[in-house]
């Protein structure tokens, strides 16, 4: 399981495309410089980052760094609450987004809004930081599911953008989240996100993706 600090640092690195100093990372993430140095030393040993100058670090292999982040992150184990409803997934997003503007959507929502046309899906993932979304009055049924990830690491909302009225995590964060969800729908959504951002590793063959690409 990824510690909160390390998660913040990996996220900062993966979302940035320019060399950055370790002090800047520490400021942006709120982590101590010693933790940043320690994480950088590990990543440098793994050849995932390199040091273009003495004071800065740059991502050496973004593909690998994203996979590393996803494999360490593993949100399958995170605490979650599942709400099944008769609403279609997109309808569910809209309703929940309107009722609980504090939620930050990820995974399928980000893939859809990025224009990646993910596979037909039934699970809408959202981060519920305040745990105040339990009283959602959703019509019962089994058409789609709202998966509320109840996390304490509210840095995840820091770079969320408002898209179609929903707070949505950046594409790379959504990709990492999707990789951690072990369903074929998530896999297809992650694959379709790879078409939007060429740095995202394609985790399936194009023939396997077929109509979704």
């Amino acid at each position: 399981m990824l510690s909160l600090g390390v998660g913040k640092i990996l996220r900062e690195l993966c979302l940035l495309e320019r060399p950055i100093s370790q002090a800047e990372i520490a400021r942006a993430t709120g982590c101590s410089t010693s933790l940043v140095n320690k994480v950088m030393a590990t990543l440098e040993r793994k050849r995932l980052v390199h040091k273009p100058t003495a004071r800065t670090v740059a991502v050496a292999n973004l593909e690998y760094l994203l996979l590393y982040w996803a494999f360490r992150r593993d949100i399958e184990d995170d605490p979650r609450e599942l709400l099944e409803t008769s609403l279609a997934a997109q309808e569910l997003e809209e309703r929940v987004g309107r009722t609980c503007p504090q939620l930050v959507f990820t995974a399928f929502t980000a893939a859809r809004l990025a224009g990646a046309h993910p596979a037909p899906y039934a699970d809408v993932y959202a981060y519920d930081f305040s745990e105040g979304s339990r009283d959602l009055d959703l019509p019962t049924g089994r058409n789609s599911r709202l998966v509320l990830l109840t996390l304490k690491d509210d840095h995840l909302k820091s770079k969320a953008t408002l898209s179609s009225g929903l707070g949505v995590v950046p594409t790379r964060q959504a990709y990492v989240d999707l990789l951690s969800i072990a369903t074929w729908e998530a896999k297809y959504a992650a694959m379709s996100l790879s078409t939007v951002d060429p740095h995202l590793p394609l985790i399936g063959s194009r023939s396997e993706m077929g109509e979704y690409l």
């Binding site: 793994k46 050849r47 995932l48 593909e63 690998y64 996979l67 590393y68 996803a70 494999f71 360490r72 399958e76 990789l179 072990a182 590793p201 394609l202 985790i203 399936g204 063959s205």
Partner: protein, 209 residues
């Protein structure tokens, strides 16, 4: 084209948890011959990580067999055993849950005695052909490395209801000929071969007694 050491290195770099068994495990203990293929044990829940990585690097997943998962990446064939799919003794589940592995050169490698048990079984099951020869070489190089505690090995064999394993090792050593040449990396003189064989046979006979 990716080679197996490079693949191992990358798997470790991107935090895929695995335990090395097979020819690579022998190499890490003995630095004798590198192996072309990779044999790994991992938890079923982590298998998606390996699959995602292999496919993202242009590799393929083979149709899963009854006893293992298979992947191909570059020139490298990977056989993966999990607690749900792994016809080896000791079972992958036992190796993982019992933490029957040690750190060697920053890799997690199955304990040498357990590795010897796995290798002896492989050598017995596929005695003919090049793979059988490589298995016998692996057995001898492990014995010759000084990393094996023979008493632990014998206890391990008994614990897994494989009491004949010590006899099998003895038979492999007694019958070995060209294996010594591969293990030592040179053609040994008859005296050298005899001395080596005698030492191994003596220690194995003591166990048998």
């Amino acid at each position: 084209m990716l080679r197996s050491l490079e693949v191992l290195d990358r798997l470790r770099a991107i935090a895929i948890p695995f335990v090395v068994i097979g020819g690579w495990a022998v190499y890490l203990f003995t630095h004798y011959h590198m192996s072309r293929d990779l044999d790994l044990i991992m938890e079923q829940k982590d298998l998606w990580k390996l699959k995602s990585f292999v496919i993202s690097q242009g590799g393929t997943e083979k149709a899963p067999g009854l006893s293992k998962y298979g992947y191909k990446l570059g020139q490298v064939d990977m056989d993966v055993y999990t607690e749900e799919k792994g016809d080896i003794i000791p079972s992958p589940g036992e190796i993982l849950s019992g933490k029957r592995f040690v750190d060697v050169e920053r890799y997690r490698v199955v304990e040498p005695e357990v590795l010897l048990l796995l290798k002896v079984r492989a050598a017995t099951e596929r005695a003919a052909g090049l793979k059988g020869l490589k298995d016998r070489c692996d057995v001898i190089s492990l014995l010759n490395s000084g990393r094996i505690d023979l008493n632990t090995f014998a206890a391990e064999s008994r614990r897994h209801a494989q009491p004949n394993t010590v006899n099998e090792v003895l038979r492999i050593v007694e019958m070995a000929d060209e294996e010594f040449e591969y293990v030592l990396g040179k053609r040994p003189t008859p005296q050298e071969k005899w001395r080596l064989k005698r030492e191994l046979v003596r220690s194995l006979r003591r166990l048998e007694a």
